[in-house]
């Protein structure tokens, strides 16, 4: 029952935006351009989706007794009570807050237990729960991950390949659903205000010019924007709900399409359409790897499904991908003694046919890397990170959505979802990619002056943190950071959107300053976000620390602590801790630089300042809502309810691989270094904040002078590490050279052959024509002329004179008679 | 061909003896005598009818008509006219085709006269006995139109040409209902031989074919109308419509040739009325049963008493001529009573009304015996149903043929 309820609720939340899209895109096309109906419809769809998601979370919690948050019956009852009187938007977070104290007490033992369970043979597999909600393994029902999976709809069957729409519901799915729908609702509401200038029949686009120099005039596309937003939400929710990797791919591409449509929303602007193209093409590079991974998976595993397939009686008939890699007691992947390859088989559905199948370890790595390549593209990781800053060409709400809840989150989500299939080599790659990304992006963000660009680079950088966290075996840490980041990054983007809206589409920070006087709500909510992303907290004050330790502090702390634990276990990879630590400082520096630049100090451009204004309530209310979440969603940190929810169904087992080159830090190790890492990270953040205040807040040092002294570095950063140029020279130019060569080859060799053949044909046909005209035609003509002349000579007999014919007849008769008479006389 | 007046031939044969028997001279002489008689009948009847017409028209128009010539009723008026016409100059217009112009009246005359050849005046009193006598009469009468056309065309006058054209169209059209209506009593009689048809109606007025069935009754009147039209008599005299065409086809004629046309016209009037008499009105039979039987007996006893037979035939001829003359009188009566139709009305009357009506009558007459036989369960009510007659015919012919063939074979065997 629980499974069906969850499925129905999430399906409603998932499909409503699609319905909204269909109605909005057609109804809007035929309806008035000045109508806000499309927007409210979209809001209604996504808000209902949020309600459904939240309800699903509650249902799931009730079914599992809230064991991920609290372990005794008392807490479960208390949550029920809270849930009844709680506000919809904050309901589950209230539980989190209420349960924090208890959770903190119990967390350690729970984590220990989870780790222990993970090590126990036979218990590391995900436990499948049948549709009626009964946990299959009663002994471990309390702690084992609870997964509801099944098939929604069968698309097609190609031989053994069955393409289906599946669902895979665990706590991560529910958290993602709730987070995505909530943020999307806020962004939708915000967009109603932000996009209101599209509510016209003739929209003048000041950034797009026709060839004659005039601005582009076009009908407003308000309805289209919201239709695309709805489609975007639908795609993202489908991706999250997906129960097989192929379905993920489908929605993966749909997300790509939607981002293309929304980034290129101002399609008349060349920069916007270029950015859309760039985003799309860069994603295709990653998707190519994704496809390779899919092929490997299909070839060796024969299924795309995550979870097991059970029959009506609850027996497992077919194992999912996650159950197909048997592990040893130590967690290592089992090797076939004979072939030296990895065994494939299900522990829950012992199938003799499957037991003998194997996959080469290298191909397992390839499959993991391939899927991760897709995540690189989607989540803008090095080396495919360049599309994301350009994607700022889209309207700011789109940026907010893309950067927080949907697109880039999809990559991280998939990495987390697909975690059981990654070997440690892959994970190490993920860690390093994240490490490089976070540093590169952070350095560029330091010199960026466009308010949205700064945020964009910060996003890339934070995504790098997430990947790093995942890569250093911190599954919970990475996804924790994903959720918290989604809240504060969407908050900051909406704030920047509010600023841009208020400053009449002025995005350059050097022209702003002192805006906190004009738009206080925006300024202070922005400050919440900045503090959150910087990971600032006031240490030592145990009582108040909870209030001053915003969400970013907890999640980044978790990532850095995991990294430190990893580095301690594997000193060779010390960079994986040093770089994030330094970058934490840089992050604080550039974020506060942004805030000081924009809101503090005195106005640098009086014109902009004079005309700017605070945004309307429909834009600021989402800011307030989001700021609360940005601040306190991670209440309690790793002992808090959010982390508990996320890791509640953590894949009990993380692939170790077989090389053993990396030592896996246990949870204890992580916990041991947690304090150290937290202090180091906070020190870095504080120093970054201090520098920012010195340079921009207080203005003691003129940043321009530093810029001049370090002009080389500055130029290097301004040019984004010359990645675009690098790609241009590495890929584009050789491609052009190859293309030119191909063109030359085509024109000279191929065309030459063709022309030669044509000339030969012409010569042959000339000769053929000669033959035809002289011999064949001559023969025919001779016959024709002979017939004609015979006819001419005979035609004189045919006088056309009736009487002559009679005469001829008579003469003929007489002549006949004469002949007869002379021949037979007598 | 058979010269029917066997009595005269036999009489002559006895007269001349065997001297010239090989030449058949007696037949030639008998033929000549009959021809003279016929020609006189042919020539005298117009004289009588023209006088009659003049008197009747006078009476109808409230005048006296001719009174001067020949004393009482001016009965010699026609002779006087004839003498006058013979004396007139025989004119031929310069525009005319002289040969055709002069020969056209003879055509009309000859055609009318030829009709008298097969017209029986009484039982056995007929120039030529032919099985298809009615057919021959109709054929010969149809020749008359050729003379009219010839006259109209060769006169070199547009009035004449129009008259000829009209006459041609009218005659050709009216021949069809004429023939079909004549066939109605033929169906009842089962023979085309006019002598046989006349003989069948012996024994009372109820045996006349006009009272044979409803179709023959209607057919008589239709026939009379059509006959009037085919004699180009008013109201169908479009060929000589005075008010439009001066004199029509005879505009340019004068003298004796002009009179030939009228001799032909009145002769053919009598001919068609005579045919009507034979086909519908009992022919030479008086219509009084006992008298008919008496006359029949007298005729059949001709061997014993030639005089009685002769007298019976005279009475029959008188009755026949009376019936024909009555028909002619009605035609005269009609002429002076009814206005003339237009040519399109004439053609419409024929093609749209008379032909369908006559076809219907013919069809009805063929079905009538079958209906009657079915209704009364008596096949003997009519002389014989057609099918039975046909079967009997075949049976008779077969037996005769078989007998003859048998005889022939026997003879051959004997030889």
């Amino acid at each position: 029952m629980t499974g069906e309820t969850l499925r129905n609720l999430l399906m409603t939340a998932w499909l409503l935006p699609l319905l909204g899209f269909a109605i909005e895109i057609f109804g809007g096309f035929w309806g008035s351009r000045k109508s806000r109906v499309a927007a409210w419809l979209a809001v209604a769809c996504i808000a209902t989706g949020f309600l459904c998601s939240a309800s699903a979370l509650v249902v799931w919690g009730n079914a599992t007794g809230w064991r991920v948050i609290a372990h005794d019956e008392h807490h479960g009852d208390e949550h029920h009570g809270d849930e009844h009187h709680g506000d919809e938007h904050h309901g589950d977070e209230h539980h989190a807050a209420d349960s924090d104290a208890h959770a903190a007490v119990n967390m350690k033992s729970r984590n220990d237990q989870a780790t222990t369970i993970g090590m126990e043979p036979g218990n590391w597999v995900t436990t499948s729960v049948s549709a009626d909600g009964n946990v299959a393994d009663a002994d471990h029902s309390h702690d084992a991950p609870t997964v509801y999976s099944g098939t929604l709809y069968r698309l097609a069957t190609f031989g053994g390949l069955e393409l289906t729409l599946d669902y895979y519901i665990d706590s991560l799915t529910l958290v993602m659903f709730t987070m995505v729908t909530f943020i999307a609702t806020c962004i939708h509401l915000f967009a109603i205000g932000y996009m209101s200038d599209e509510l016209t029949d003739e929209y003048v686009d000041h950034f797009a010019h026709l060839s004659d120099g005039h601005h582009v005039h076009r009908p407003g596309r308000f309805y289209r924007f919201f239709a695309f937003l709805s489609l975007f939400c639908f795609s993202m929710l489908g991706l999250v709900l997906a129960g097989n990797i192929f379905q993920v791919f489908i929605f993966w591409e749909l997300v790509g399409i939607c981002s293309f449509l929304l980034i290129g929303f101002y399609t008349e602007r060349k920069s916007a359409s270029d950015a859309a193209n760039k985003a799309f093409i860069m994603n295709r590079v990653g998707d190519f790897g994704f496809l390779i991974g899919l092929m490997v998976l299909w070839t060796f595993f024969g299924t795309f499904k995550f979870g097991e397939t059970t029959d009506l009686s609850g027996h497992v008939v077919e194992a999912g991908l996650f159950q197909m890699l048997p592990r040893s007691e130590g967690g290592d992947i089992l090797l076939d003694e004979v072939s030296g390859e990895v065994l494939i088989g299900s522990m829950t559905a012992p199938n003799p046919e499957n037991s003998s199948r194997t996959i080469p370890y290298s191909l397992l790595i390839v499959a993991g890397l391939g899927v991760f390549a897709g995540c690189i593209g989607k989540s803008a990781q090095f080396p495919l990170q360049t599309w994301l800053p350009d994607a700022m060409e889209g309207p700011t709400p789109v940026s907010a959505l893309v950067h927080s809840a949907t697109m880039v989150a999809a990559g991280v989500y998939l990495t987390g979802r697909f975690y059981p299939m990654f070997t440690q080599e892959v994970l190490l790659t993920i860690a390093y990619v994240g490490c490089i990304t976070l540093f590169v992006a952070a350095t560029i963000a330091v010199v960026a002056t466009d308010i949205k660009k700064v945020l964009a680079y910060s996003t890339i950088s934070q995504l790098g943190y997430m990947m790093l966290g995942l890569g250093v075996f911190g599954w919970g840490a990475g996804l924790f950071h994903l959720v918290t980041h989604a809240f504060f990054k969407s908050l900051m983007f909406l704030c920047s959107g509010s600023v841009i809206h208020g400053c009449h589409h002025e995005q350059e920070m050097p022209k702003m300053g002192g805006l906190r006087h004009k738009m206080p709500i925006t300024a202070w909510t922005m400050l919440v976000g900045v503090v959150a992303i910087s990971g600032l907290a006031i240490p030592g004050l145990v009582g108040l620390s909870s209030f001053f330790a915003f969400s970013g502090f907890h999640s980044k702390d978790a990532v850095v602590a995991t990294a430190l634990a990893f580095v301690e276990a594997n000193p060779a990879h010390f960079l994986l801790f040093i770089v994030p630590l330094i970058t934490a400082g840089i992050t604080a520096f550039y974020m506060f630089r942004l805030w000081f630049y924009t809101f503090a100090g005195s106005p640098r451009d009086q014109h902009v300042y004079d005309h700017c204004h605070e945004s309307p309530a429909i834009m600021t209310l989402p800011l307030l809502a989001l700021s609360i979440f940005a601040a306190y969603c991670a209440w309690g940190g790793e002992q808090g309810p959010l982390y508990g929810l996320i890791t509640g169904d953590q894949p009990a087992y993380i692939a170790h691989g077989i090389a053993g080159s990396v030592t896996l830090p246990g949870h204890d190790a992580v916990h041991e270094v947690h304090g150290t890492a937290g202090i180091l990270a906070m020190l870095a953040a504080f120093s970054g904040t201090l520098v920012a205040w010195v340079l921009y807040g207080a203005g003691w040092i003129n940043p321009g002078e530093i810029q001049k002294q370090l002009s080389g570095v500055h130029g290097f950063l301004i040019n984004k590490w010359h990645f675009d140029e690098l790609y241009d020279s590495v890929f584009m130019r050789p491609m052009h050279i190859v293309g030119k060569f191909c063109a030359w080859f085509d024109r000279t060799i191929f065309d030459g052959i063709l022309h030669g053949a044509a000339k030969v044909t012409v010569v042959v046909s000339r000769w053929d024509r000669l033959f035809d005209e002289t011999v064949v035609d001559g023969f025919v003509n001779v016959i024709g002329r002979a017939t004609h002349s015979a006819g001419l000579s005979l035609k004189t007999i045919q006088t056309g004179n009736l009487r002559q014919y009679v005469m001829f007849i008579v003469a003929g008769v007489v002549a006949l008679f004469a002949v007869v008479l002379t021949t037979f006389p007598g | 061909m058979m010269l029917a007046a066997q009595s005269i031939a036999g009489f002559l044969e006895g007269l001349v003896g065997d001297t010239f028997s090989g030449w058949g001279i007696q037949h030639v002489l008998a033929a000549a005598i009959h021809a003279v008689l016929l020609v006189h009948a042919f020539a005298l009847s117009p004289f009588l009818f023209i006088w009659l017409e003049r008197k009747v028209s006078g009476r109808i128009q409230d005048r006296l008509g001719p009174t001067r010539v020949g004393g009482l009723f001016g009965w010699l008026q026609s002779l006087a006219d004839g003498i006058k016409l013979v004396q007139k100059e025989d004119l031929c217009p310069p525009a005319a085709d002289a040969m055709l112009f002069k020969s056209a009246p003879y055509f009309v005359c000859i055609a009318s006269f030829a009709a008298f050849v097969v017209l029986p005046f009484s039982s056995g009193w007929v120039a030529v006995t032919a099985d298809c006598g009615l057919f021959i009469i109709l054929a010969v009468l149809s020749l008359e139109v050729f003379g009219i056309i010839m006259a109209g065309y060769s006169s070199g006058s547009k009035w004449s040409l129009f008259g000829g054209m009209r006459e041609a169209a009218q005659m050709v059209s009216y021949e069809i209902p004429l023939a079909i209506c004549a066939l109605v009593p033929i169906v009842a009689a089962g023979s085309l031989n006019l002598g046989e048809i006349g003989g069948m109606q012996r024994g009372g007025i109820q045996n006349w074919f006009i009272f044979h069935d409803p179709f023959t009754f209607v057919a008589f009147f239709v026939y009379f109308v059509v006959a009037t039209a085919s004699c180009k008599r008013a109201p169908f005299d479009l060929a000589e419509a005075e008010s439009e065409l001066v004199g029509g086809f005879h505009t340019e004629y004068s003298g004796i040739r002009w009179s030939f046309f009228f001799m032909g016209e009145y002769a053919s009037m009598f001919a068609v009325c005579g045919i009507a008499g034979i086909l519908f009105l009992g022919g030479w039979n008086t219509g009084l049963g006992p008298i008919d039987e008496l006359l029949y007996a007298a005729r059949n006893n001709s061997v014993d008493s030639p005089i009685g037979s002769y007298l019976a035939n005279v009475i029959g001829a008188f009755v026949f001529v009376l019936k024909g003359s009555a028909g002619v009188f009605v035609q005269i009566w009609l002429r002076w009573t009814l206005p003339r139709l237009r040519i399109d009305q004439v053609m419409t009357t024929c093609l749209k009304y008379l032909i369908p009506i006559s076809c219907f009558l013919f069809l009805g007459a063929t079905i009538w015996p079958l209906l009657l036989a079915t209704a009364t369960q008596r096949s003997s009510w009519t002389p014989e149903p057609l099918g039975a007659r046909f079967a009997a015919e075949v049976q008779e012919a077969e037996t005769t043929e078989a007998f003859e063939r048998q005889a022939l074979n026997d003879g051959e065997e004997i030889q």
Partner: protein
């Protein structure tokens, strides 16, 4: 025997030859038709003669009857053709009807 078979055949021959000459020499289309009628009549005379003087008997008469009937039909159609010809060419001269000459 003057009125024997050969006399009839002679009359038929004369009719036939006259008809043929008529067809050959008359330029008037109607005249040509008359020639045809003469020819057919010559044949009919022969039929009747054979009916009387040979064992052909009734068959010959029936043949003659068919000839007459078909001659009438032929005359009707030929006359219609002649009228059409006159309508198109405003003449009845068959020498003008030589459009199909070689």
């Amino acid at each position: 025997m003057i009125a024997g078979l050969q006399a009839y055949l002679l009359v038929g021959a004369v009719l036939f030859v006259c008809g043929v000459i008529c067809m050959a020499t008359k330029r008037n289309g109607i005249g040509v038709l008359m020639g045809v009628e003469l020819v057919l009549n010559g044949a009919n005379v022969n039929f009747i003669a054979f009916s009387k003087y040979t064992a052909l008997g009734l068959d010959a008469q029936i043949f003659a009857l068919f000839v007459i009937v078909l001659a009438a039909a032929e005359a009707a159609v030929a006359l219609a053709i002649a009228l059409n010809f006159y309508n198109n060419h405003l003449t009845i001269d068959v020498d003008k009807a030589n459009r199909l000459k070689g």
